[in-house]
């Protein structure tokens, strides 16, 4: 499998705090890569370097390179908005906009200049289908997004991200605020989406990582401890610390 994202000797500082330490890894295309590790080890931080959401946090310093499809995303000629269009993100808490379901999904395409009603209708339908939400909402697209359940809201956020046709989808604990059934739906959805998208997900749920991902990365204190095929990492970890973590012996 081809690597889509290449991270090379990446270091990130929040002020003086060294949050990511010398991280190098290759994330393959059209597969699910899971980040696991104890709270505060830097999973979200690394995820957010991939769409440059850390730019907005004052005092953040980065060195090393992150390239996507061969282009250094921290390079001078990179347009952050274009990058974020290509690298979608779903957050831990569902964060639909206080607009209708339709307008939530159409928000992204409209930003990027699509105004034709017909085209928007098409995108909205496809994205909602892609996020496995269409059948539940097709009859009331004009209703407020807040009228949906938490799990539906999260799928709406996925649809919203899909609507701008990203290549990569970042999911930061996207199911941690949801009930088991909604979680399962989103996991199934991720399985479908990986046919077309490269997915990187952060999860605290070891079973989830084991169930859905192809690769798993285990982090500790800002460092990568182990990175391998999910099956191998869970059945036969190389590092003692990985083994301790996945067997719940520390955390």
């Amino acid at each position: 499998m081809q690597a889509l994202i290449e991270i090379d000797r990446l270091n990130l500082f929040y002020g003086t705090f060294h949050a990511l330490k010398n991280i190098s890894m290759k994330i393959p295309e059209k597969a699910i890569t899971a980040f696991i590790g104890p709270s505060g080890c830097g999973k979200s931080t690394l995820l957010r370097t991939l769409n440059r959401m850390n730019d907005m946090i004052p005092g953040t310093q980065i060195d090393g390179t992150v390239s996507i499809a061969g282009a250094d995303i921290y390079g001078k000629d990179i347009d952050v908005e274009t990058l974020r269009k290509k690298v979608g993100m779903v957050f831990q808490q569902p964060n639909p906009f206080p607009k209708s379901i339709y307008d939530n999904v159409a928000y992204g395409p409209r930003l990027h200049g699509i105004t034709s009603r017909q085209k928007l209708d098409e995108i909205v339908e496809n994205s909602l289908r892609g996020a496995a939400l269409w059948n539940e909402v097709k009859d009331h697209l004009k209703r407020s997004a807040f009228s949906l359940s938490g799990g539906q809201q999260q799928r709406l956020c996925i649809a919203r991200a899909l609507a701008v046709e990203p290549d990569i989808l970042l999911m930061d604990e996207a199911t941690s605020a949801l009930d088991p059934i909604s979680t399962l739906k989103i996991e199934e959805l991720a399985q479908e989406l990986k046919e077309r998208y490269t997915i990187v997900m952060v999860t605290h749920n070891m079973h989830q990582a084991a169930r859905v991902s192809n690769q798993t990365v285990f982090f500790l204190n800002g460092e990568v401890v182990e990175y391998s095929e999910t099956e191998k990492l869970f059945s036969n970890p190389e590092d003692q610390r990985t083994e301790d973590y996945i067997s719940g012996r520390f955390g």
Partner: protein, 307 residues
Amino acid sequence: MNPVKKDQAAGNRRLRFPKHIREEWYGRVYAYFCVTLLIVTIVSIVWFIASKGLNPFLSGAVSVPELLFGRTWSPESEPPLFGALPFLAGSISVSLLAAVLAAPFGFCAAVFMTQIAPKVGRRFLQPAIELLAGIPSVVYGFVGLSVIVPFLRNNFTGQGFGILAGTLVLSVMILPTITSIATDALSNLQAGLKEGSFALGATRWQTIYRLILPTTFPSLLTGVVLGISRAFGEALAVQMVIGNAPHVPRSLLESAATLTSIITLEMGNTVGGSLHNNVLWSLALILLIMTFLFVFTVRMLERRAGR
């Protein structure tokens, strides 16, 4: 168990009402007393204004349409004419124009303080705006009289007094109201909303005008309505710059008058119980009704914003 505590417990049992229940009871009585006093005050003010203000209509001296649509105000003529249209027109036009002028500035200041430069905003702009809110209206009027009126007189036709001068003074006066409510609304935005927009590739400006402004719109409108309401009720500063001529203004530079300015001007020259005095109370009643309408509107907007 500590013997002293035991004693106390026994003592309280003898009293039947333990201390905390008594305290609760005192608190309740005190709170009810205050609330009753408050309600009595409000009701009696409304009652007083209404009974005086309705008098001219009930006695048949003036009819409601005459008051609301009459263009001539000459209490001294024979028979006296009480047409309040000039004041209504004056009040409404100064307040609305002031809001139209102040709202964009207020919104921009709020966006700047919350979205663009929160540090500078909180350090300098916020205190400046709070200061603006604390300046007494007579000072505004004085500044208007000695700066704005001469400026208008020298650069445009007329004496400088009029709707435009009143609008300019009022817009500065209501700027703090609009700005602080807008700032609150913008800084209470739900967490993650902006990030969601940025993550889709929106620029900061796109996020502001496509997401933040529409989301906070009812709250922004609340600020504007409160601003209009303040402008509508402001008497002194307006009276000092508007010229106080009781006719319907044809231009922004022509001398005019408002409901409040005419009340403050003429109240002292009338005898209590006379028709002229009572008609001034009718004007006060109109102000009161307008205030109710504003409060009602704000309530509705808030309910909408809360959803």
